[in-house]
Amino acid sequence: MNEIQIMLEDTVNRLFGDRLGWDQLTAIEEQGFPTALWAETVEQGINKVLADENAGGMGVGWADAYPVLRACGRHAVPLPVAEAIIAEWLARQAGASLPDGVPGLLPGTIAASALGASTLKLDGTRTPWGRNADFLVGVADTGAGPELIIASSQGLHVAAEDNIGRDPRDTLSGNAAILGRHALPLPADCIHWLGALARSAQIAGAGAAALDLALKYGAERSQFGKPLSGFQAIQHYLADLAGVVASVDAICMAACVGLDTRGMAVEGRNARFEIAAAKCRASEAVEKLTRLSHQVHGAIGFTYEYGLHFLTRRLWAWRAEFGGAGEWGEYLGRVAVEVGGDGIWPTITA
């Protein structure tokens, strides 16, 4: 990692490491949005790592932002940090600036038919932290090119729901007042791809944290007169876990570097290949990450009191969000049959 990456990761670790222990995570699940913690996150500029420097951001690229996203996964951060980072990057690409406050990132692509003269029609859009959003950000396929849409979150019908990680995933309906429309030099489906990349990074972080907990517990807990991690079967689980964590991390880093250097146009060999590979691998990896980390912990890991679940429940949720292994595998399968057997290696090495 370069110096910026180390500095950013340290910042996130310091902020959330102290403030997101078992007590705090439980309190947030019971009491809702941690306004003070969000304010601190904003104060430290973590939501704006990818914003333009003139807009108070750090103006770095995805490779540098990756440790931030990963660390958010590691600390099971119950805030829309990944969503904010994506929204700020989109604004930077469009030359727009976002209002202050909590962003509601609209997944998927807004159809041209949903855009009125001054309103955006939402017809049941499942939006992370929709109930807490101060404004909405989405990308529309207008027919005349993709546009970044910034809209008000006022006056909408909010059907509140949490995912199994107990993070808000609310369904929004109604007419949202449009606050800004900006031509966007990115494909109209970009939020789906960026969301997939962000969730992959969070999976890498949460997986690493689950491994850390399993290592700690394996060293502390004794059975048959020796620590659990003295047993070969447990050592092999831990080694297997470590390899899977490292592999998800590796393809995520490659996807971020790819996005910075090749972009994500619809046609041609660009970072779509690595992003799809990252989410396919990350979603598949969740099975082993959760199964083995729980297995090493035994029954204690299955209790609410222990807290491994803050990570594993999010891993199960993130596995499906922005497309699971089936969707992304199918995309890569289509790439493979399109380029053919002779073309697959040149595609991988391009």
């Binding site: 290592l215 002779d342 697959i344």
Partner: protein
Amino acid sequence: MTSVADKLRFEPTALPASLETLRAEVRAFLKEALVDVPVVTRSHSWEAYDAEFSAKLGAKGWLGMTLPKAYGGHGRSALERYVVVEECLVAGAPTAFHWVADRQSGPLVVRYGTEEQKQTIVPAITAGKACFAIGMSEPNSGSDLASLRTRAERTPSGWKVNGTKIWTSNAHRANYMIALFRTDPDPNKKHAGLSQFIIDLSKTKGITPRPIQNLAGGRNFNEVAFVDAELPPDALLGTEGQGWRQVTEELAFERSGPERYLSCFFLLRKLIDVVKDKASPATLARLGSQVAWAATLRTMSLSIAAKLNAGQDPALEASVVKDLGCQFEQNLPGLAQELCELEPTLAGHGSEYQQVLGSLIQVAPSFSLRGGTPEIMRGIIAKGLGVR
């Protein structure tokens, strides 16, 4: 606030443009050179023996690439060699003749050999004219290599060797063997009693290889009997008693390369073409998952090459990639059968795809046996994590 994952980072590596030029040259060369090589031979790649092909590769300057020019090497980077190696594997080039020599014996001789050993042996390696065998495993010493018993005793004229090596690929046709023998029988010196030797197989009496047929009918590996085999004094490679340390370094070369995930890549290529026109979304998803694995392992493997190139020791990283890569390549033949329901066939029968499947599905069990088993790899990883 550290995470154990910080110990295992596979940073992406950008190859300089000059390496892409080299890659294009290698691809063009292989396309022409492999036109007449049968498809089953190609599917075996680094286990397919073809002295003529190896000499051609040597003539191109693509063997011993990282070795010093003073000994006929090419003084090129580990990344340049990496590009040549991965292109050969994916193309299904028959590289078994030079594989061991280029991968580990050459670097080992350059590092530990005497001036005379280097002058005699390294130029033959870089020319693609020296085939090397690895004398490590014994009938009673497999994963527990340091328990080996084949004994080399000092004599007035050099060394006398008695014992048996096994699973020795190409011992019946190799020019040289680099072997690990016990030079000190003191039971308290399990590791310290070992030394490495370089044996000129054409000049040494008392060595008898007996081919062992594998389950698929192939005859690559051997049991090798040493009966009062006499070696000259300068057969010792490196320092007496330092064999374990030297062999550990040798294994690092053996375990860190792209062959640890690409053994079935030729099958993946064929599979893509077979399912092409009739793939359901579910089939495409399973195929795509393998593509995701391949892309992931490529970035990890290349990252290891970059670490080697920078003079670091990525032994832990290499164990991870060997463990994961083995799962990937071993899974492919079975997956291929599920995805297209075509019978695996023997060479000469069925389609090319069926023949490739038929040969690889039979040899796939060896992927998790050769070069260190997953159980050994996971032991090394566990040690790296501090739990062993």
